[in-house]
Structures are given as structure tokens and as C-alpha cells.
């Protein structure tokens, strides 16, 4: 007796909302288990997370600051994924993108700030894209697996940047590996600045204008992937390379374009961190955002409309998580890295774990409704 259901009868909201939701719940349940094993109360942890990320204005601002980064890296992974490419190199591309931001900004700092920002964004995108170019080329031309090459390039980026930060562009006035600070005039305005403009007093939070850039980037990706010829061709190559060739679409060209756009988006992380928060390049500033971006993209089903909420969720986890680590000495911030891993596991690797049961449940319910 066949239990296969007619796939076409499954409503889109079941596959795209219910199943991911169930996966998320499973992940959070396992996470709660971890917190319990670590000796703390999961319920209390949840309360702290909610308080830390929503409970006060600056906390919420921090949440949105993290969200900004996750949007950039999530979009980056998603764009490449549409061409069926696993870009694990977001960390490295973000790092090098940051280099671009800094180099441009420090050299054109005499220009009016908005112009500097525009040029710096260009720098981020170009540098990030270039760092993704070689793995892209090797995949397209020589079939080298992009997953391995991008991981390698992460390490190479790390070594390169340390070298530059220690020997070449270091702030020579002190020993730590970071650059000089950018002049205050070209810093991106933060929420505090913005509020101050309206006479509202606030404490500092790193939320800055980049958040709006992230929203713009989301629109850009949505438009590019679904409303332009480039996105269309990328998706065709990603779904069915044979058919794409039949239609005269070049897989080679599209692999490279997809990866470069992906790298460019990852590079934008540098705009947030360098132009908006630290105002200098600090060693290791990508700090795992690149990898979290993978989780964000997978949870958000690689569509900006899903990525934004997923990025927000991770923002909550990060900010709320730091509240938890503050109040619960037994929980270190690494617990939230683990939570991230569990989410990737259930949203990505095990995403079909309960899919057949959920889908047939809903299809049967719909059938019964129709018969009634």
C-alpha cells in the first residue's frame, strides 16, 4: 500500500511555514535540554532572552544591530544557494570586504560623509566579490568544489588580514592588531545620534544606519533574484543545469556572477562593523557572523522575506543570549553557538525528518474537508 501523497496538493503554507516552524520548535526543545544539562532552568533562560532582546530600548537596539549583520551574511549565502552553490566563505569575504571599507574610507575621508559611505559600500562589495571570485572561477572552469575552496579562503583571509593588521596597516601607537580609528565625521550615525537629533536621550547601542542598508539589501536581493534576467538565469542553472544549457544560458557565467554577488553581500558586514560600530578594523571582526548567516539563510528558506525574520530571531538569540550569560554564570555565550548549530541541524540537515507526516496530515485533512 503506497503512502505517497500527491505533492502538488500540499499547500504552500504547510511546506514553507508549518514544516520550518516545527523544525524550529524541535531545535529549541533540544536547546532547552542543553541548558538543563548545563545546570540552569530553561524557562528562566527564555525569560531572560526575551527581556534582554525586547525589554529595554537599548537591548532591542542591540538585537537589531545583530540582525543587520545576519541579514547581510544570510542574503549572501542565499544568493549563491539559488545557483546551488554552498558559499561557506562568508567569513572571509566579510573580512576582506571590511578591508575595502576601511581602505576607501580612510583615503576619501575629506569628502562629505554620505559620499564616503557610498564609496565605502562600493569598496565592501567589490572587495568581498573579488574574494569570492577565485573559488567561483575554480568551480566553474575546473569543477573544484566550492565548499572546500571557500573554507580554505576563509583561513587564507584570516592569515592575510592578521598579516596586514600586524605589519602593514596597524595603528602604530599601540600593540594590538587593529588599525587607526576613522575620523568621527564619517562614522555612520547610530540610533543614539538619531535620537539625539530629536532631543531624546538614549544610551549607546551599536545600531546604526547600516540597518537601513540591510533592509535595502534585502529588497535588492529580492528584486535581483526574482525580477531580473540575472536572477532568473542563476535559478535556472541552480535547478537544472542541463535545461539551462538547452535554453542557451551559460552555467559558467552564472556561477561566477552568483558567487561574486554573494561575496559582495557578505562584504557589507564590514560597513556595519567598521563604519558603524568599531570605526576601525579589529582582528577577527567577522566573529562567526558568516557561519550564522548559513543558519539564517536555511531557516529563511533562502528568500529575503524569510531571511529577515530569521536574522531577527538570531539577533534575539545573540542579544538575549548575552543577557543570559550575564545573569546565569553557568551559561556562556558559547551555548548560543550550540543553539545555532542545532537550528542548522533541524532546519537544514534534518529538515525532512517529520515532513512526510506533517504534509500527509494536512493533505488528508484537506481531503476530508473536501469530501464533507
Amino acid at each position: 500500500m503506497s503512502t505517497a501523497i500527491d505533492k502538488s496538493k500540499v499547500p504552500w503554507w504547510v511546506s514553507n511555514l508549518i514544516v520550518p516552524f516545527v523544525n524550529l520548535i524541535l531545535a529549541l526543545f533540544v536547546s532547552a535540554l542543553f541548558i538543563f544539562v548545563a545546570g540552569e532552568n530553561p524557562i528562566q533562560a527564555v525569560n531572560l532572552i526575551i527581556y534582554g532582546s525586547f525589554g529595554y530600548i537599548e537591548g532591542f537596539a542591540y538585537t537589531l544591530y545583530y540582525t543587520t549583520n545576519f541579514v547581510f551574511t544570510g542574503l549572501a549565502f542565499a544568493v549563491a544557494f539559488h545557483c546551488r552553490l554552498f558559499n561557506i566563505g562568508g567569513e572571509g569575504q566579510a573580512y576582506i570586504g571590511g578591508l575595502g571599507v576601511f581602505l576607501i574610507a580612510i583615503n576619501v575621508s575629506f569628502l562629505p560623509a554620505p559620499l564616503v559611505w557610498l564609496l565605502a559600500i562600493g569598496g565592501a562589495v567589490v572587495f568581498g566579490a573579488l574574494w569570492a571570485f577565485i573559488p567561483a572561477y575554480l568551480q566553474a572552469k575546473r569543477g573544484s568544489h566550492v565548499v572546500i575552496t571557500t573554507i580554505m579562503f576563509n583561513f587564507i583571509a584570516s592569515s592575510l588580514m592578521i598579516f596586514l593588521l600586524v605589519d602593514v596597516i596597524r595603528d602604530t601607537n599601540q600593540m594590538a592588531p587593529h588599525t587607526v580609528k576613522l575620523p568621527k565625521e564619517i562614522w555612520l550615525p547610530t540610533l543614539k545620534d538619531f535620537a539625539g537629533f530629536f532631543g531624546i536621550k538614549m544610551r549607546y547601542s551599536p545600531l546604526n544606519l547600516s540597518f537601513l542598508f540591510a533592509i535595502a539589501a534585502s529588497f535588492f536581493v529580492w528584486f535581483l533574484v526574482w525580477k531580473t534576467k540575472w536572477g532568473y538565469e542563476m535559478r535556472a542553472v541552480g535547478h537544472n543545469t542541463q535545461a539551462a544549457i538547452y535554453a542557451g544560458i551559460s552555467p559558467y557565467k552564472n556561477i561566477i556572477i552568483a558567487m561574486m554577488i554573494s561575496g559582495g553581500l557578505a562584504g557589507l558586514l564590514g560597513v556595519n562593523e567598521i563604519l558603524g560600530v568599531n570605526h576601525k578594523i579589529q582582528a577577527g571582526f567577522p566573529a562567526g557572523y558568516g557561519f550564522t548567516g548559513i543558519a539564517v539563510a536555511l531557516m529563511g528558506r533562502n528568500h529575503p522575506i524569510g531571511i529577515f525574520p530569521a536574522a531577527f530571531l538570531f539577533g534575539i538569540l545573540y542579544q538575549g543570549g548575552s543577557e543570559v550569560t550575564f545573569d546565569m554564570p553557568n551559561i556562556s555565550r558559547y551555548m548560543f553557538v550550540a543553539v545555532q548549530g542545532v537550528i542548522i541541524l533541524f532546519s537544514g540537515a534534518l529538515e525532512n525528518l517529520f515532513r512526510p507526516q506533517i504534509e500527509s496530515f494536512f493533505v488528508n485533512r484537506l481531503n476530508r474537508k473536501q469530501e464533507a
Binding site: S2, A4, K7, S8, K227, T228, K229, W230, Y232, E233, R235, A236, H239, N240, Q242, A243, A244, I245, Y246, A247, G248
Partner: protein, 506 residues
Amino acid sequence: MVSPILELTNINKSFGHVQANKNINLIINKGTIHGIIGENGAGKSTLMSIVYGLYQADSGKIRVNEKEIKLKSPRDSIESGIGMVHQHFMLVENFTVLENIILGFEGELVFGKNLEKAKNELKNLCDTYKLNIDLDSIISDLSVGFRQRVEILKSLYRGAEIFILDEPTGVLTPQEVDELFKILRSLKEEGKTIVLITHKLNEIMDLTSEVSVMRQGEMVGHTKTETTNKEKLAEMMVGRNVLLRINKSEAKKGDIIFSVKNLTVKDDLDVTRVKNVSLDIHAGEILGLAGVTGNGQTEFLEALSGIRKVESGEIHLHGEKIADQKTYLDPRNLKEKGLAHIPEDRQRMGLITDFKAYENLIFGYHDQEPYSKSSIFNEKEIISYSQRVMEEYDVRPTSPQLITSNFSGGNQQKIILSRELNENPKILLIGQPTRGVDIGAIEFIHQRLIDMRNKGTAILLVSVELDEVISLSDRIAVMFDGNIVGEKINKDVTDRELGLLMAGVA
């Protein structure tokens, strides 16, 4: 004194809605070469996969050596003495012959004595059957003919008494075919039983002593080879399909638009599939290319549409050379020159099933106005175009926003058709246009093709459905084993004549 070695009783097997085997009864006698003949989709391969334990029948019984057994996996079949030489060889490319043969039957954990024993046994087998294989050669270095011998040797080593060969000669050169036949005959002399699945009547008449005919999932006939002939078999194989014949006027043949000269094309495994074919197609005519799948039509179409490169020979379009050994145009350029291609395997090539219907309706034309302007899609225009076209071609449901995988096979075909036909191509290459399409849609598609031909389009129609070819074509050519074996004006040609040509009988 013949005794049955393999008996199948009332075997049924369905895949979803498709019933591949319907109430099959078959008796294979020991020590005979038994042929199973039928066209595409007749169900031969499915049946043999059941015998080899790769699939399980939905119902029915299998008896080997008069004992009823359940064949739940290849292991069971192998232990019952059944060996199979598949169409696509089950060999590990970078292993040696020896390693491939002993895989799964090593007899010991650490290679040692048994390996030596195996080597000796294999050498003896090779000598007995004159297989002439070097056990230490690597598979990737062997020719297709030799790889097939390795498969036969594999079955011998595993103690097979029954050898099933699934379309074994499709990939062989004529000399290799002769060699294979010699080997099969010597197997028979040693008392082995051979089941030969084929669509080539010559092989049946040359090798077999008994033959069973399958058609559309059923066993329709069973005779002794000596009491039948090719004509009778062809008739059984092809049968009488009840499809309406289209009324069409005389073709108004124009100039030669498409000209193929001495075309030779190889497939992905480097086997020559199109052998020195020359063909002309005129404006305003439908040239039907008949033949069983696997005789080179696929590669032929792919070469003509710019997807596959040409080994030798030339292709001319509008008098201009578009392809030869060194150059070929890509599909986009060909589109600009007025060539449209509706591929045989629509799901693999003609569509992106995950795309929405309207996205597929502009597939390959997506960067042309009015669909897109400076690379940005004019969605309103595309959707209204799609709506129009879907209504015109009666694609159901008429929703441009629906994801293509949700349409039935026939409607997917109509989507591709409407896309290509709407461009008013000067020449249309079309493969298996009505595969998996219901009757009503078939009529509709056929009428459209006639309309285009009347308007002056040159059409190359490749189809395994004889009735379709006869119904639509002005001229018919038959492709067998990579060659054009017959070209006839479609006036009084019969099913049987074509069936014979399709089965390789001159």
C-alpha cells in the same frame, strides 16, 4: 527433453498510476536462448528487474527450477542462479576486472588464498567461453564490448545458470555484436539459459529458439522462432493502435532549409550513435523520423539543436553552415536564426519544473523584448502573454502562477510546445511530442503541427509512436542503429513496413 528453468505466473507491477506489467505469464526453458521483444515502454526491462530482485512484483509467482521462490533482492536472484547484464553496466570504473568480478563474493575477509582460487577459476571460465579478458586490466581502459564481457564473466563466476541480457547490442560495433553472439552460443552449448531482451528482430531470428512478445505491459504472443518470421513478429510488436488519422492537404514543399551531410555524433560515453547520416528538410514539410529509442535519434536531435558537438559531417541552415567538427552555434544563436527545439525529455531539458508556468513560457527567450527590457522583467507583460498562450493551447489549469511540477505531463508538454511554436520558427525540431499526453491533447498538438507546416515551417518530427509518424509526416525516414535505413514518401506505406525497418530488417 525441455524443462522450465524459470516460470513467471500472473506477474503484476505498477508504478503509481502506470501499470508496467499486467498479468505476465512466461516460461523460459532450460538450455534455450529465449527472446523477449517489444517496443519502448512495453515493460520488458521492468519484468527482468523483477526477476533480478531489483523490484518486487505487486502480485504473482516466480518459480526457478520448479521451486517457488521470493526474490527480495539481487542477492536472492544471484543465489538462485540468475545473472543479469544491464543496459548500463554495473562496473566500478577504476577497479580491475578481477576486483569488479569478486565484489561481494570475495569469499574471505583478507585477500589471500581465495583470490588465487578466484583467479584460476576465472581463467578457466575465460578459456571455456573464449572471453579473452585480462583480469588485471582496469575497466576504464576497456572498450564497451569488453566491458560487456566482464559483466558476462561476472555472472558466470557467481554461478549463474540463467543469463538475462537487456538490449546488449545497442552500444556495440558490428564486429563486437558478432563476438557477443559467439559467446552466447557457447554459453548455450554448456547448458546455460539465456534471456535476450531486444527490439531488434534480426537478433531474435539469428539467436533465439523461442520468442515472447510484449506490448504495453502485456505478454501478447509466444512462439517458437522456427515457426515464425520477422513480419509476423513485427505485427505482434507494433499492434494496432487506435489513433485518429489527421486529414491533411498535400504538402507545399519549399526550399531545403535544413541540410545534414554525413553527420556522425558520439554520446557521453564516447560511443558513436549517429553514423554518417545525411538528411534534408524542406520548408513546409513534416519529415518524420521513426525508430525505437536508443538508435541515435536523441543524439541526432541534440546535435541539430546545438547541444551536442559534431564528430564529423556538417549541418547547414538556410544554406549557411552552422555546425561541423570545429564549430557549432549555441542554442541562443540558433533561436535567432529561427530554429526551435522541443526536446524529447521535457522534464530533463525543456523545462525547469520548479519554476512557475510563466517563467517556463519564456524559458530561452527571457532576455528578449517585450519580456524583459535591459534585463529587468516586465512581469505584467509576461503574465498576460502567458495567460493568452495558455488559453490558446488549452493548458490546464490556466494559471501562469502555478508551479510547473503541478501540471500533468501532457500539460507540461503543451507549455513547452506553446512556447516554441509561438515564436513562429522557421524550423522546428520536435521529439516525442505526445509522450505521456492524453488523447484530447494529442489531437490538439497534431493539429498545431499541421498548421505550422501549412504556414511553411520545416518540421523534423522524431517519435517512437508509429501511428503519430504516419499520421503527420509527409516523408518518413527510419533510424536504426545510428543509420537512416529507409526513406519513404508517406503515401501508401504500412505499419508493417515501417515496423520491419524499425526492427532492423531491410
